[in-house]
């Protein structure tokens, strides 16, 4: 277990440094690092501190959030298909964010954007849980997710199409596929408080999720308050997914792929899957963001494109496995 932790941490650190050093502008790696650490008052210092650092930080924060919330939802629903992107939580958060931007709420006060996205995410989680039920089968969960995410995506498109701003309609792609392009420290500051809250809540559910693997009665007998557990998972997920989506749009499949890959290494223990998925999610999003910057630097290739290319086949594989188990 400790070896896994060390490997994942090393991976995140290496990718984080690579994300800082690689970019569309050719910069000397050593000079860049010096400029960043000394917060040099040069243009290179500006580029490092105001462009690359926030982007790399957001990749870590958002990747960790998505991995963590995926692992938590899967543990709570005891279903390997639960993923905030797949079941429509991210799409509802995007609707909340778009509403905040288009109504002027985001401009009126700074926290309007993440708060509105959080509210959207909360509505999304509650809707899916209500539709699928707390112990719904994989099928009802996915169907409920499709309903919520397609409705939220349609409403997002509608709001953007109705906007008088000529750029808004083109941004549908951003909200559906996600990107970290041109984000700044302002966005780090907007997302961080909500994410920290969500991380604390989701980080605290490990014991409860472990107990839940024995069944609800056994968990209650072990002193787990299921009501509290449920509330922590719901609010924690809404907080981290809301904050992530508000600044980077919907990035799918991270919460599905990462726990799936890491599950065998932690002996399928939900509590261990939580922290390892957070690290794994951070690594995956860093790698994806480095790739989009290297492959098509001037085109702003969306992150969701990459994560879906990796995630969709895995999703197929998972469905296949789940079907075989239920037969």
């Amino acid at each position: 277990m400790r070896r896994l932790a060390l490997i994942l941490i090393a991976l995140v650190v290496v990718l984080f440094v690579a994300a800082l050093l690689l970019g569309p502008a050719d910069t000397d790696p050593w000079q860049s690092l010096v400029a960043l650490i000394t917060r040099e008052e040069s243009l290179l210092g500006l580029v490092m501190y105001e462009i690359r650092l926030p982007r790399a930080l957001l990749a870590v924060m958002i990747g960790a959030s998505l991995g963590l919330s995926g692992a938590a939802m899967q543990g709570y629903l005891r279903n390997p298909l639960a993923d905030p992107g797949l079941i429509g939580v991210s799409a509802s958060a995007a609707l909340g964010a778009v509403l905040a931007i288009q109504t002027g709420l985001a401009a009126a006060f700074a926290l309007g954007l993440p708060l509105s996205a959080l509210a959207g995410a909360l509505v999304g989680v509650l809707l899916v849980l209500a539709l699928a039920g707390p112990r719904g089968s994989s099928l009802t969960l996915i169907l409920a997710g499709i309903v919520v995410s397609s409705l939220a995506a349609a409403l997002t498109s509608l709001v953007l199409n109705l906007s008088p701003n000529p750029f808004a309609a083109n941004e549908i792609v951003f909200w559906m596929m996600g990107s970290l392009a041109d984000r700044s420290m302002v966005h780090v500051g907007l997302a961080l408080p909500f994410m920290v809250m969500g991380w604390l809540l989701l980080g605290g559910v490990g014991r409860g999720l472990d107990a839940l693997t024995l069944g609800e009665d056994a968990a209650e007998a072990m002193g787990i308050n299921l009501m509290v557990l449920r509330l922590m998972v719901v609010i924690g997920t809404a907080a981290v997914v809301g904050a992530s989506t508000a600044v980077a749009g919907v990035i799918g499949f991270v919460g599905l792929v990462v726990p799936h890959i890491l599950r065998p290494f932690v002996g399928a223990r939900p509590s261990a899957l939580l922290w390892s998925s957070a690290l794994g999610g951070a690594a995956m999003l860093l790698a994806a963001d480095i790739t989009v910057r290297l492959v098509l630097p001037s085109k702003d290739l969306k992150l969701g494109v990459l994560t879906a290319i990796i995630g969709a086949p895995l999703f197929l594989h998972l469905i296949h496995k789940v079907r075989k188990m239920s037969v």
């Binding site: 580029v47 462009i51 701003n165």
Partner: protein, 291 residues
Amino acid sequence: MIRAHLRNMVLGGVIGLIAPLVATAQDAPDVRPKRVVSINLCTDQLAMMLADPGQLVSVSVLAREPESSAMADEALGWPINHARAEEIFLLKPDLVVAGAFSSQATVQMLRKLGLPVEVFEPALSLEDVSAAMTRMGAALHQDARAADQVAGFEARLAALREQVVNRPRAAIYYANGYSVGDQSLSGHILATAGFDNIAREAGIPVAGNIPLEVLALLDPDVIITGQRYPAASRSEEILDHPVVRHLQDARLRGTIADRDWICGTPHVLRAVEGLIGLRHDYEAVARGAGE
């Protein structure tokens, strides 16, 4: 209902037969189009400048939008259309003028319905502005008026040109980091006003996106942005990025409204004038720093 429709068709047919006879009897050689409809922002403006009163029947809805149209007030004098084949056909035009960016489906449909459609390519240089005016003049059979306006435009443009020794390096920076290069209308206007375009250093000949960090490291002397559009968009957020703010505070900034150089019409002279003024400001600041 059906009977009324039939009666209209019959009457329409009869009038349709008589009308050409009357026309030929009165002014035989004049084939000047009498009902012209424009469905593109740029052809709207060219047509409004060149058409006889009553010759232009309708302009597109964009012509009235002050952010994108240089003739938004004038456009109030014409009925608007939304560039949809159905409404255009019902206006019974004898000429439709469209842009190369107009919907291909609409243009094809109108042609299939037997309407002549003239498609205008977007202007990519200041010479294209004169060419477009001449062509619109020919399409509307207003050649003399067009020649007049072309001469006026070219004279005013020639008067504006100045010898510039030290050309400042300018970046045109729009929403999403979009920029335009030398082989575009805006690029030509920028060069005419005496600037070097930083897009060349970024390897952009026509148009493309300059990543924020590339912009910062190219370190332009002047940053020129567009005006903001109503309501918010994520695309325009880049103009509030701390790096753009920092560059603008440390250097000279300018704004050229989209309406002044989005279309190749004589109104681009406003953009040329605005940019020359910006260069004079830059030279004054540079001289102040040198002393």
